[in-house]
């Protein structure tokens, strides 16, 4: 039988039992559409994370203390050994040893409750120098930045994240007002622009001079230069010199820490590219996980197709006998049943792609638990999903078709 006839015969047979075909199709539609939708969500998350990191500027390098500090030290700024000091940071400003470093912004962290009158909120704060805002691409909405004079004076001044400001002061402009952090009174000198939607959101944070954080809030002691740091933010002179700057930082710190050639770094340097790659790797796993879960439903759909095809072969035994008696070869019967299975899964695949596409399209921008879901639809995923649904038809259709083709014509004809 030629392919055209095969297809029209398959349409006839599948169309003869529309409800059954429809229900069988539904399994495939659900499988394929969930693959498409899941992948769109996964890819959307991946891309948005990447772009949010990129907003910080790809020339940012973060140095955190501790050899085995987590790669995500970046988030909390925490290694576990106190090996980065303010002096380390200052030494990176050296034009000779670190020519590709443009800006150095050390930071440490503190936490505590911030209180204004009866309002209070728990904050994770950052102790900074004046360079911090530029390093982190932040800007002041009103008031001023923390100056290096504030740092030297161990001034009790604070710059508030927009959310903290709103929680404590409502719609009032807090600049000039006072608040208590861990029972010490601070003067608010500025408020940050909201950075909602970025990955390192400072909105819920309070910035104070780095010395103040150390001596006043963390009850630190010691000399000014020996203040231990959570991390050092370094900007390369340009995006193209990130790797050079990284080398500079490493060289300087290894010298300062007197590490022998065979000793590992006791600090961790993370570029934005590293972070993006790590996160993309994590997200990639996530996408694969989502995809596999969806793939399982496609598999279940395929089993449904096989089930129906087996029923169909049994029901149509006599038809098979008739076809064989008038000249159908075994392979004609084989192809006929495979074609029917593929027709169902292919049709299911097309509907599934359309449905998945629609879900991804209308789901884009929806919020779940306060998170905005972004979806990215990729054509190649749709094409792969279609291909897979055809393969599912072939795979699950072949066994029933082989059973049909191997029937003995006389016995098939005698079947009631």
């Amino acid at each position: 039988m030629n392919p055209g006839l095969l297809i029209s015969t398959a349409f006839g047979s599948v169309g003869a039992n529309k409800l059954r075909a429809g229900l069988t199709l539904l399994g495939i539609v659900i499988g394929v559409s969930s693959v498409i939708a899941m992948m769109a969500v996964g890819r959307g998350a991946q891309i948005s994370v990447t772009s949010r990191i990129s907003e910080l500027g790809t020339d940012l390098i973060t140095v955190s203390p501790g050899a085995q500090a987590l790669r995500f030290a970046f988030f909390g700024g925490g290694g576990n050994s106190d090996v980065l000091s303010l002096e380390d940071a200052l030494s990176l400003k050296d034009d000779v040893f670190a020519p590709d470093v443009r800006l150095v912004a050390p930071e440490n962290s503190f936490s505590g409750s911030a209180v204004v009158g009866s309002e209070s909120t728990f904050v994770n704060g950052v102790g900074i120098t004046a360079e911090y805002l530029e390093a982190r691409n932040l800007s002041i909405a009103s008031g001023r930045n923390i100056t290096n004079a504030d740092v030297e004076n161990i001034a009790l001044v604070a710059v508030l994240g927009s959310e903290v400001s709103e929680t404590l002061f409502g719609q009032r402009n807090p600049v000039g007002a006072t608040l208590k952090i861990s029972s010490r009174e601070f003067t608010v000198v500025g408020v940050l622009d909201s950075q909602e939607g970025t990955i390192f959101n400072p909105d819920n944070s309070i910035l104070v001079p780095i010395n103040t954080a150390h001596y006043r809030l963390n009850n630190g002691t010691g000399l000014f230069n020996s203040i231990s740091l959570g991390s050092i933010n370094v900007l390369a002179s340009s995006e193209d010199t990130v790797d050079d700057a990284r080398t500079d930082v490493s060289t300087v710190l290894r010298l300062r820490h007197e590490l022998a050639a065979d000793e590992d770094d006791d600090f961790l340097i993370t570029t934005q590219q590293d972070t993006i790659e790590t996160l993309e790797g994590t997200q990639g796993t996530f996408v694969i996980l989502l995809g596999s879960i969806a793939g399982i439903s496609l598999l279940v759909g395929g089993i449904g197709v096989m089930n129906i095809m087996l029923v169909s072969v049994t029901e149509r035994t006599r038809e098979i006998g008739i076809r064989r008696a008038v000249g159908a070869k075994r392979r004609d019967i084989l192809f006929q049943f495979v074609a029917e299975a593929i027709l169902m899964t292919f049709a299911g695949g097309i509907l599934g792609v359309l449905a998945g596409w629609a879900i991804a399209y209308f789901g884009n921008g929806a919020t779940v638990d306060g998170d905005i879901i972004e979806t990215v639809i990729e054509t190649h995923i749709a094409i792969i999903a279609l291909g897979v649904s055809v393969a599912v038809g072939l795979f699950f259709g072949i066994y029933p078709a082989v059973r049909a083709a191997s029937l003995n014509p006389i016995e098939a004809l005698r079947h009631e």
């Binding site: 039988m1 030629n2 006839l5 015969t9 006839g12 003869a16 006599r318 038809e319 006998g321 008739i322 076809r323 064989r324 008696a325 008038v326 000249g327 159908a328 070869k329 075994r330 392979r331 004609d332 014509p409 006389i410 004809l413």
Partner: protein, 250 residues
């Protein structure tokens, strides 16, 4: 009547067919030797279980003998592959079943077209033209688009005959074609087969319990217990006898 040197269409030599049923075996055909020439019309009769259908299935290349030789149109059938058997079924013979065996969802026309679909290389237009011609030949010009359910038993059996004819084979095999029909429909079918033999020169082998069908044939072969117990020609001396038979059938 065909004249000249006879051409054998069917040659059976010592053909047996055994079925294994658990521990014991049934000999449905027991050493049959038989030759049927081109243009013959042969009726096969015999009691139930005597092996008539088994013989027809063998002749129709649907079943293979356990032993012995079956030569169809000069070709030893046991040498054929499964695919070649399928081709032989569609090219060299047409089979008519007691229970019509039409595809219930398909129209008369597409049922008749079916063997052509498996022949390959025939255009849809030509297939349909051939199917119409075959339906016209059996007098069903008005029934092209009817489905089996919408036709009488006799009409369905004529559709089945048209399907057997559509590839224009020399040999038509019919296993109790009137077994499910009332006497009027039977008469139509018998007349159809007789005419295909007389007018179109088809070789016809028909299994029947119906004496009228046997009467229409030119040769009767009687079966019992898988063996041929009688094989004799029937004389149809004059047309008047035929007319008389037809009148009796009314």
């Amino acid at each position: 009547m065909t004249s000249g040197t006879p051409t054998p269409v069917i040659e059976l030599t010592n053909v047996s067919r055994e079925f294994q049923l658990g521990t014991h075996s049934v000999r449905a055909l027991d050493g049959i030797s038989l030759t049927i020439q081109l243009g013959e019309m042969v009726a096969i009769i015999g009691p139930s279980g005597s092996g008539k259908s088994t013989l027809m299935n063998t002749l129709g290349c649907l079943d293979q003998p356990s032993s012995g030789v079956f030569v169809l149109n000069g070709q030893n059938v046991s040498d054929l592959s499964d695919n070649q058997l399928a081709e032989t079924r569609s090219h060299q013979l047409g089979f008519v079943f007691q229970s019509y065996n039409l595809l219930p969802r398909e129209t008369a026309l597409s049922n008749v077209e079916l063997p052509l679909k498996y022949s390959g290389g025939i255009k849809g237009k030509d297939r349909r033209a051939a199917a119409r011609a075959a339906l016209d030949r059996v007098g069903l010009s008005e029934r092209y688009d009817h489905r089996p359910m919408q036709m009488s038993g006799g009409e369905q059996q004529r559709v089945a005959i048209a399907r057997a004819l559509v590839r224009n084979p020399e040999l038509i095999l019919a296993d109790e074609p009137t077994g499910n029909l009332d006497s009027k429909s039977s008469a139509e079918v018998i007349e159809m087969l007789r005419s295909l033999n007389e007018d179109d020169g088809k070789t016809i082998v028909v299994v029947t319990h119906d004496p009228e069908v046997a009467e229409a044939a030119k040769r009767i072969i009687a079966f019992r217990d898988g063996q041929i117990v009688e094989d004799r020609p029937i004389d149809h001396p004059t047309d008047s006898v035929t007319d008389e038979t037809n009148e009796n059938a009314e």
